[in-house]
Symmetry: C2
Subunit: 238 residues, 2 copies
DNA sequence: CGTACCTTTGAACGACATCAAAAGTTGTGG
DNA sequence: CCACAACTTTTGATGTCGTTCAAAGGTACG
């Protein structure tokens, strides 16, 4: 999956060796917790995880979601407190990798280090994209943009057919925390998009009603922008 | 500097070898341009650079600034269009590294790859911090938070003495684009902070008037939060 | 000394937040 | 299979923070 996909069996062997057992967690559980040191990395095998930061005022914020295949827990310096929590959105299965041992492997393997470097670059690009989305677009465009991204990450292609659906197991509050909006306002905005005949989001299922209008609303005004985005979004898949 | 600091002379030799000549640019010039492929990486030697994303509505957004020492231009896949521009804020001197050749070096050197991985993780943490700041704090706190970060990146320590100054060569519009505010509102907010006796920003110079109040306004409510932040901000230095 | 850019301030507007309450949904145990 | 509790969604009314538009002062640089 994700992190391991492009590695050969030979390169993977040492990683497989240090891998501790799998772990299953319930929705709301935390893989690691903001402010605490975490001795492990994780590879997400099943379910969705939210990176959640708590601001001193008490409000939450979600800079990114992780889908199966994602590598979780990398930090600039080991032994330092995590700057955000990793919260399970659904039931989750992860594969646990002791930090010290993986760090050692990475330090000794250009292949492994390059792979992680690529992943880190992808995650940074994704966070930047979210940031620009939240900071530069109005609510309607913002919601549409995130929906397109999540659809892509679920299906690995852009919405193009009327009636396609994607399971997006997030509450309105979680969407709001990712979008810099309140859950209430996300709801109102989704209603607008529904009344415009663009999409339908209910019971954690996104239904695409008018793919072209959705892409336009998401900030991909023409075919050129759409195909450029298709290429770029490939890096956003976990 | 930055990227090269922790590498030994031996590790640096091949990098020094592929390094093309230095380049000097004027304020407003672009190292690379959103939507275009860039065949080079850059190490910033002198001056400030802004990463600038243009949204389809035409507005700008600055997810991050780069100070001397920064490594610029890394992308998930080479040969792909850049997702943002790198715009010179001041007069700038960079050292140019041909992408292909550095990629080759990185693929063959665990040391070099690990170093870039660490840098990528630092930049991602910084972008996340900016994101949370913009998305989770009100204008006053937001402005204070950025001022503390920039002060730290200039001086490598937190503001602690009344009257300390830092040169921050940004216009109100540029600050606004980094903060998700208009330049006009940044101005009003800085006035509030000035009238509260917290800081004074004029002619691109930040003067700290009340360090404790500033740290509190920036979202570091107590000594514990402050010292934790001091540690964390070390990763934000270029 | 003039021109271009940046900062500062005011007035009016609008997008989104907040507060509150009702209706729907999901899961659990009897 | 129903009843209940906890959570989520939906909608309305009201408020506010930040934007927009506009114009007047500063500042820097050729």
């Amino acid at each position: 999956m994700g992190m391991c996909a492009p590695l050969t069996a030979e390169e993977l062997a040492p990683v497989a060796e240090i891998k501790a057992n799998r772990r299953t967690l319930q929705p709301g559980a935390e893989l690691y917790c903001q402010g605490e040191v975490c001795p492990n990395y994780f590879i997400l095998v099943e379910g969705w995880v939210a990176a959640r930061a708590t601001v001193e005022s008490g409000s939450f914020h979600i800079p990114d979601f992780a889908l199966p295949g994602a590598f979780l827990g990398y930090q600039p310096a080991s032994g330092r407190a995590m700057t955000h929590s990793a919260v399970c959105v659904t039931r989750v299965v992860v594969c646990v990798l002791p930090r010290r041992r993986l760090d050692e492997l990475v330090a000794g393997s250009a292949k492994l280090a390059s792979r992680l470097l690529h992943l880190a670059a992808c995650y940074e690009a994704r966070v930047r994209d979210h940031f620009v989305n939240v900071s530069g677009r109005a609510a309607r465009e913002r919601v549409a943009h995130l929906m397109v991204e999540l659809f892509f990450r679920v299906h690995r292609h852009l919405p193009s057919v009327r009636g396609e659906t994607a399971c997006i197991p997030l509450t309105l509050d979680q969407l709001g925390q990712a979008l810099g909006l309140t859950g209430v306002h996300v709801n109102r905005t989704l209603r607008v998009l529904r009344e415009e005949g663009i999409l339908h989001f209910a019971r954690r299922t996104l239904e695409i009603v008018d793919p072209d209008a959705l892409m336009a609303a998401a900030g991909y005004p023409d075919r050129v922008a759409v195909s450029a985005q298709d290429e770029l979004l490939r890096d956003f898949v976990d």
